[in-house]
């Protein structure tokens, strides 16, 4: 990467050369230590490197590699015979309405969840770091730490529990949400099935996913904003920039790298969303309105026993994820990734 690095001498060449230098009497102590492999060193490397890497390759790397092959077979999983069918599984996926529906839903999640989460997280991070009074030093709201601590908590709670809790909150008859809504006089909301109506099921599910992620990304952005020199905010304020303008024109460009990273990680999580969907609507929601690729894969493999076809879905899932990451980098590049506010100033 860095073009200015000085050419380094080949490793290991310097020491013997120094020892062999004429006039420099080779001392007997100077045995070439690195040639000696002691039991101590051998056992250390075996345990520190060989053992964990073997486990890692067997349980993580090999399944990924096998998946690519299985995706091109008609393997059912429990029979010994499997035929290589090339790209047939992928062609079949293109005509599989249920899968296409799931793919659409996953794509929708990949667009909506990161966008909403990032906008809200930046908003909250701005409020708690630089959103305070405009007289005196640049600072956040009072009590900012409290909001940050509270909002981060859902990140620690198992996603399945979050899904279950919200499924209860959304419950038509004894749920918290309808209780509150009817309590404030919206009688039309009595018994409204938030997760059982195709119009609201996806939106309600997305809300929960966003709800669980906001705190984590708020903390990430708070850290990024704190790394920005305070003078930049003071200068913007002297120029009469409003809070909103400052957030859009100063904060976002300056923490751009963090935003891009957040986008990718949120997108990957949203494309998956298995746990949340499984907790709120194990069957895929009304009219498959919340059914996602990961659920289809899971059902196809472990309920229907079509393992070859299921791994093909896995490959598509991985490709969609890669495409998504690529798209984020591309958009970042097109919109001028590298030149930030500091460059213009």
């Amino acid at each position: 990467m860095s073009g200015t690095s000085t050419p380094a001498a080949p490793r290991g060449a310097t020491q013997p050369a120094a020892a062999d230098r004429p006039g420099n009497t080779p001392r007997p102590v100077r045995r070439r230590r690195r040639r000696q492999i002691s039991l101590d060193k051998a056992s250390f490397f075996a345990v520190a490197l060989f053992l964990p890497l073997t486990v890692y390759v067997i349980f993580v790397i090999s399944p990924f590699v096998q998946a690519v092959y299985f995706s091109m077979t008609d393997w059912s999983g429990f029979t010994a015979d499997m035929a290589f069918v090339g790209l047939d599984n992928f062609v079949r996926l293109l005509g599989d309405d249920k899968f296409l529906r799931a793919a659409m839903n996953s794509a929708l999640l990949a667009v909506v969840v990161p966008t909403v989460t990032i906008v809200i997280a930046i908003g909250v991070a701005t409020m708690v770091t630089v959103g305070g009074s405009t007289t005196g030093g640049v600072r956040g709201l009072r009590g900012a730490g409290f909001y940050r601590v509270i909002s981060f908590f859902p990140y620690c709670v198992p996603a399945i529990v979050i899904g279950l809790v919200w499924a209860q909150v959304y419950d038509p008859s004894r749920g918290l949400l309808n209780g509150v809504l009817t309590g404030i006089g919206l009688d039309g909301m009595t018994d409204f099935p938030w997760l059982g109506d195709p119009r609201t099921a996806m939106g309600a599910s997305m809300f929960v996913i966003v709800w669980s992620f906001i705190g984590f990304y708020t903390v990430l952005f708070v850290a990024a904003i704190k790394g920005v020199p305070g003078e930049i905010y003071e200068a913007a304020r002297l120029d009469g920039a409003s809070r909103f303008r400052t957030a859009v024109s100063i904060t976002v460009p300056l923490i751009r790298d963090n935003v891009r990273t957040a986008w990718i990680y949120l997108g990957i999580a949203a494309i998956d969303s298995f746990v949340y969907m499984q907790a709120m609507n194990p069957g895929g929601g009304p009219g498959y309105s919340t059914f996602v690729i990961s659920q289809d894969l899971y059902q196809t493999a472990f309920a229907k026993g079509q393992f070859g076809y299921a791994t093909a879905m896995g490959v598509v899932l991985a490709l969609v994820t890669l495409l998504f990451a690529g798209a984020v980098f591309l958009v970042d590049r097109i919109t001028g990734g590298r030149d930030d506010v500091r460059g213009h100033a």
Binding site: Y56, F70, T134, W211
Partner: protein
């Protein structure tokens, strides 16, 4: 860094009454943030309160306070719904996996960061690959890898899998940590005759303690909350972990569910996490801030 926004906080502690627009903006922000905080807290509080009500009470009046608060639901969840067993399974699996992954991860990170040998970079990139691919791609072949090894539906199988999947993250985080530690101390130890094992356990590992603590907390939460791996690889009811027990509630038909036990189960699953969070909240947020993702 030193001129960062944070520094300004202290200097302007005095109560400044800003302009009218300021006060509106600040007040609006507080309202929004309070609303957000309520949105986070209230569902948990609701579940907590409901966990002391009988199922018929829950069905009849979702908002009333428990008429006769009792721990019956907890007893039912712990014994009848098997949460007690799942709880113990989770402690065994997460405890063993956490210990192993921290030990092996630290060793590997140390070797990768401080020794030069052929293949060093390749191994590092292999870890990167393992981190970026979606677990879903691996899950079906993984099922057969475990089955062929006779580890399917066993706790040791789950432990090994947890270790393998938490391994790359652990190595990545600790790699930069070991790089930043001073070379001189380790060299001094070796000159004094300490072998590789001694140098690692008595010199390097204690110096890496802050990094180890951060990673351990992240791994604890990640493993405690793990869902996909146990659901796919551990289908023996007796070996269920907590998240699976909770999923069982989710998949049951609406009418058969013992809602009181469900809420009690949620509370019992969340409490260990809550404890960890309350104690380590600062360190946890600090490590996010340091750039877990960079």
């Amino acid at each position: 860094m030193s001129t960062g926004v944070e520094e300004r906080h202290g200097t302007a502690r005095r109560r400044v009454s800003g302009t009218a627009g300021d006060r509106t903006a600040v007040a609006t922000s507080h309202v929004l943030l309070t609303f957000g905080a309520v949105l986070v807290v209230v569902p948990f509080v609701w579940v907590f309160v409901s966990s002391f009500k009988t199922t018929s009470e829950i069905l009849a009046s979702p908002f009333s306070l428990p008429a006769d608060p009792s721990l019956d639901n907890y007893v039912n969840a712990w014994t009848d719904a098997g949460i007690g067993r799942y709880f113990l399974n989770t402690i065994v699996v997460v405890g063993c996996a956490l210990f192993l992954v921290m030990l092996l991860g630290a060793l590997t990170a140390y070797v990768l960061a401080r020794f030069r040998f052929p293949g060093n970079k390749v191994i590092y990139n292999l870890m990167l690959a393992g981190l970026t691919f979606p677990v879903f791609l691996a899950i079906v072949p993984l099922f057969f890898v475990l089955r062929n090894a006779g580890l399917l539906n066993t706790l040791p199988g789950l432990i090994v899998t947890y270790v393998a999947f938490a391994f790359p993250f652990t190595v990545f985080f600790l790699y930069s940590f070991f790089r930043s530690l001073p070379h001189e101390v380790a060299e001094a130890a070796q000159v004094d005759g300490a072998g590789e094992w001694r140098t690692f356990f008595q010199i390097m590992l204690p110096m890496a303690r802050p990094g180890m603590a951060s990673v351990a907390i992240f791994n604890f939460l990640g493993l405690w909350n793990q869902f996909l791996l146990p659901v796919a690889l551990n289908t023996e009811t007796d070996n269920y972990v907590l998240t699976q027990g909770m999923a069982q509630f989710a998949s049951q038909a609406g009418y058969a569910v013992d809602f009181g036990a469900l809420y009690a189960g949620v509370v019992m699953t969340v409490i260990p996490v809550l404890v960890v969070y309350v104690f380590f909240q600062r360190r946890l947020q600090g490590s996010v801030a340091q750039g877990t993702f960079r």
